[in-house]
Symmetry: C2
Subunit: 775 residues, 2 copies
Amino acid sequence: MEMEDDGRDVEHMGKEEDRIIISSRSSSGGLTLREPLLVKNNNRLNTTSQVAIVGANVCQIESLDYEIVENDLFKQDRRLGAKAEIVQYAILKWTFALLIGLGTGLVAFFNNIGVENIAGFKLLLTNHLMLDHKYHQAFALYAGCNMVLAIAAAALCAYVAPAAAGSGIPEVKAYLNGVDAPSILAPPTLFVKIFGSIFGVAAGFVVGKEGPMVHTGACIGNLLGQGGSKKYGLTWKGFRYFKNDRDRRDLITCGAAAGVAGAFRAPVGGVLFALEEAASWWRSALMWRTFFTTAVVAVVLRGFMEYCKGGICGLFGEGGLIMFDVNSVKPAYSIPDLLVVIFLGVIGGLLGSLYNYLVDKVLRTYNIINEKGPIFKIILVMIISFLTSCCSFGVPWLSKCIPCPPHVGDQCPTVGHSGHYKNFQCPPNHYNDLASLFFTTNDDAIRNLFIAGSHKRFQLSSLLIFFVAIYFLGIITYGIAIPSGLFIPVILAGASYGRVAGSLLSPFTVLDVGLFALLGAASFLGGTMRMTVSLCVILLELTNNLLMLPLVMLVLLISKSVADCFNKGVYDQIVEMKGLPYLEVHAEPYMRHLVAGDVVSGPLFTFSGIEKVGNIVHTLKVTRHNGFPVIDEPPFLEAPELCGLVLRSHLLVILKHKAFTTRPNERSLIMNKLRAHDFGKPGSGKGIRLDDLKISEEEMEMYVDMHHITNKSSYTVVETMSLAKTAVLFRELGLRHLLVVPKTSGRPPIVGILTRHDFMSEHILGLYPHCNSRK
Amino acid sequence: MEMEDDGRDVEHMGKEEDRIIISSRSSSGGLTLREPLLVKNNNRLNTTSQVAIVGANVCQIESLDYEIVENDLFKQDRRLGAKAEIVQYAILKWTFALLIGLGTGLVAFFNNIGVENIAGFKLLLTNHLMLDHKYHQAFALYAGCNMVLAIAAAALCAYVAPAAAGSGIPEVKAYLNGVDAPSILAPPTLFVKIFGSIFGVAAGFVVGKEGPMVHTGACIGNLLGQGGSKKYGLTWKGFRYFKNDRDRRDLITCGAAAGVAGAFRAPVGGVLFALEEAASWWRSALMWRTFFTTAVVAVVLRGFMEYCKGGICGLFGEGGLIMFDVNSVKPAYSIPDLLVVIFLGVIGGLLGSLYNYLVDKVLRTYNIINEKGPIFKIILVMIISFLTSCCSFGVPWLSKCIPCPPHVGDQCPTVGHSGHYKNFQCPPNHYNDLASLFFTTNDDAIRNLFIAGSHKRFQLSSLLIFFVAIYFLGIITYGIAIPSGLFIPVILAGASYGRVAGSLLSPFTVLDVGLFALLGAASFLGGTMRMTVSLCVILLELTNNLLMLPLVMLVLLISKSVADCFNKGVYDQIVEMKGLPYLEVHAEPYMRHLVAGDVVSGPLFTFSGIEKVGNIVHTLKVTRHNGFPVIDEPPFLEAPELCGLVLRSHLLVILKHKAFTTRPNERSLIMNKLRAHDFGKPGSGKGIRLDDLKISEEEMEMYVDMHHITNKSSYTVVETMSLAKTAVLFRELGLRHLLVVPKTSGRPPIVGILTRHDFMSEHILGLYPHCNSRK
């Protein structure tokens, strides 16, 4: 009930509460056909809702509405709208894009500085103890530091913003599809995401900062679209342009792109990521704006890194932002090499889909633990942290010490925090190859794996051990209550797999092992994320060598195709597991055999063109519907006629401003009293609450002329329209409500309203279980 | 009439012919309201049509239909459709993508081989004469070769396939928006495009091969979607999957991407070009397929170039495919450099929009000349060819001879056909810098302009002369009857502009002149084409240096923003000038003040659910409409009821197969006799002709049960729906027909049909001229 209270329009996945059949208050005749239909549907629906609830662990999900409400006020506003307003809007749009870019760039830089300094300091201290052969103290220090950082991250996630746990990409993806999970983009989430990610990555977990960066970018975008804040005096009428879901969607798309651009320093990759993976609606104009945002991120990051070159950023040094060193490799390949690459792609696809399968299983288990309470969340994080520490510190002991190669540019063994040759327990002039991978930050480990032209740097056994360990560590780490990206674990596992494969296959191919590591990473990414163009471009921007493009493309296409035979992409899997009602591009085949009227579920609440205030208040109280059809009725017209759709939020504004008339046929003052922007969608938690409104008994007997606030251009379908095409219409236009009108005249002018919920497989297959077999 | 005869459904821009008011043959009552409306609209429409015709010089334009016709046959087919069919379709889809990639790659390579050899041989001969100081003979030879090649290209264009003239990108763009201009993708066009482009580029015109490559790719895609050929025995039932506009659209999108990939060796750029500029509808699945196609192109090109390294491709050598040599530049920049870059972008944007303006003016003039007949086209080409020859041969005399720099890797002066230091009229050990730009192929000139780190290679005066000459030569060349891309002229002008600016601004900046050339080219491309991400990626793929990404992005954004203040992008301008009814993403502001019913234009032809064959034949004869509403009427029902929409092409199939019944209430055999794929859209020029059908007098009295072939899920809007939202619906769903239904009951169940034509500004503003002022 709390969501309804703050005046926002809420949709429950399981809509039982509002399935009370109350007789529609009007329309003298013509209801004969509808009533039984409603009852029938309603009975069916109860089972459906249960199905939906079992699949869902998020309860309060709000649909977003990308439709332009073309009511009289809107038209008046357009007519009055001076050219100055259009210019102002354009300037603001671009300013916001700039701000998102600046913000995300700053966060990305801050994140890197933080991680590199914390993790670097931790490793430095441990290293000193190791050099003095104080191995037990070293482990205690290492594991202790990790544990403290892990607890910090977990506590933030568990107590401040639970929505900040995990990657965040699935939630952003769902938001951009039109599903708003509660507080997923709220300021506390942003705060926890930034700091939780720093602590989590610094704690040595096998997690990345890429997913959290995308989420961070989206949060920044959302923050700008909130329309300022009265509390902090940040109010300005310019903000009103963004008080709708359409413009917020654009800001969040820009934010998601900026996140990827910041995490990988890959501006074009960021745009493509937003386009290919994140966004459900796209248009050319948005591409341009997104591109601008990512360009700003790139420039900001570059500027800061130039600034840090002087060594004033602590242990930051060169690193942090991955940039693979395979530039020196000149890929020259022939047919046998291509066969090897195809083989690599097939195995990568198989392992990638297995990764998804295992992540799904682990996540479901963790969800059960996490639901028990914050303290359980923290304990789980502590266990995984201890396991990771043991692995990082213990496994390198399995490796033999290798004498340093005579002529290398780098120091060997490395004394500082970052470098290719880790000393660990080895005597001077020797290095431990497993420690170079385990006992370092993830970014450094990736950089080490990608080093070209040195077959013998890592022993095959070490690489194999690392691959197996990191593959499973990655799987058991995702899902614990810290902000955790999936890119880095997958790249780590993929690169070590590639390097193993490169070592094993070296008799058959002339390709470099560093290149193999890149191709292995590509195959794993393709196998788990199932993106193509954006991953390809991200990898290219990381390696800065376009000559290997054809090989990367090939391996991505193969691994994606192979993995697609087994399961969905990892993000889609998580969206589904979270029970977010995601609308797919394509309609399911069984939808072709149903019509729109088949899935309409009642009861239907309608309003008259001139409605009593009391009726409005009562209806808003007893239902949680967000859209109500307005029907002009006798005696004003000969036959009832559909006028359009009115939104709950708009009615609340009318009630708040008391734009009432005493008699039904009096001229309404709505058009004089209010402007279109008074109806803008408020920011999160700032809407009008129905309970706060004081409406006297006298006012309850007054009237509202609904015509001015009714969207007369609401999209409609005839009840006999095939459900598949209805779904395409709903998805393509980004609707929240779709009116279903009857096929024949002589019946009431509306059959029902379709919402996102009605297009979900659970709902439809609940109503028509026999469709499932056909599926 | 000829287009109607071959059974295809034709829409005229000026629809006068079918504006004969005949009384709708049925619906006893309820027509009272519609008839006067029709007459009114019709009167108005005549003026509109004239407006449309003035703007259009293409007369016969066909709309494409991306809607899935969900009639009973389709549903039956889906029900019967085995899993094997789905697999077969998927395999075919990918095979076709592979074939498009292979084909386009092959053509790109062939084009390069051809141009380099023909132009190289021409320049080699001329050079020999120059060395012997036989300047007049040299000019005669040079101009003569150019003239012969130009005439060959022009003759092909003028006599074989006039649609092959020009860039082709605007036409492909229009096709992908749903507008099929006649023979724009036909096999003769493909043939002329390939050879005309080789001759045109080799003739020394300031034209590129990029636009023609895109068109070529699209033609190859279209060819594959034609469903085989009975004439050549290429029939296979698998082809039936592609006998619809949706699948053909996908193939052509892949082809367009492959074209860019082939022209620039930029696979990612190709995908982005298709996405940003070419395609009007997009989905993630298509991205993947397009990406595969461009990857194939890249691999094919790479393979061929490896093969040519042995020197067995004649004068092909290294070149042909541009690859700029700015890799050595390490861009390091500070604030003043950024200011310089911004300045560069602003001026580039201004010059770019001026370019568009002038191209438009020149094109309109040329159109008048070209319409006079093929011989005029050829004469125009000859004049421009002579002018270009004079310029290329004459202008280098203005330049002073420069002594060769002492230590350069290249030969100086160059003796071969391709090289940086052209001797021209100079004594030994000297070179003519203008000749290095003018007296060479366009690709070589671009490569010369992009050379880094050599301020003094070109004199400032030479660069200025070159810039002015190439700017105007580019403008007067586009529009003559040869296949001519716009990318190369714009890159040439932009790069020389950039180098001029770099020389002038060198006191204020540390950036290299080669980098300036790149930024100049970017600014011009942004100013004319108005693409952003795709241009950026193409330039990156050409330069193979990601470090200059932020600067390129910046300059593109600025030049596009500046140019957008003045006019449209060059391709949009050409689409508009050709009168192709392109649907924009955004509705015009005045459309918000109109409703769907306002623009419906009659007369409306409808059919009954059970219709007499004679009526069908008569209606198909007297009108050119392509969709007809089907209305179930008394005595079968109580009140008339809209059943759906039936297509002309489907009716022709029924007439051909004589699926008639002798009595109206007899069970129809359509479902037994025919399958959904019998109704597939035939390839160009292969449809059923109404006149070829022999229907006896007896058959004329028989009946057709329309229900099985009626699309019962046709999209509808209520007549009061705002026109803006109707336009969005029409565009987003890729419709050809949109049914407008009445708001109130008691009227006939359909008000009219909206087609693409009804959303064009000319039509709407013709009906409501007062909207224009509001615009």
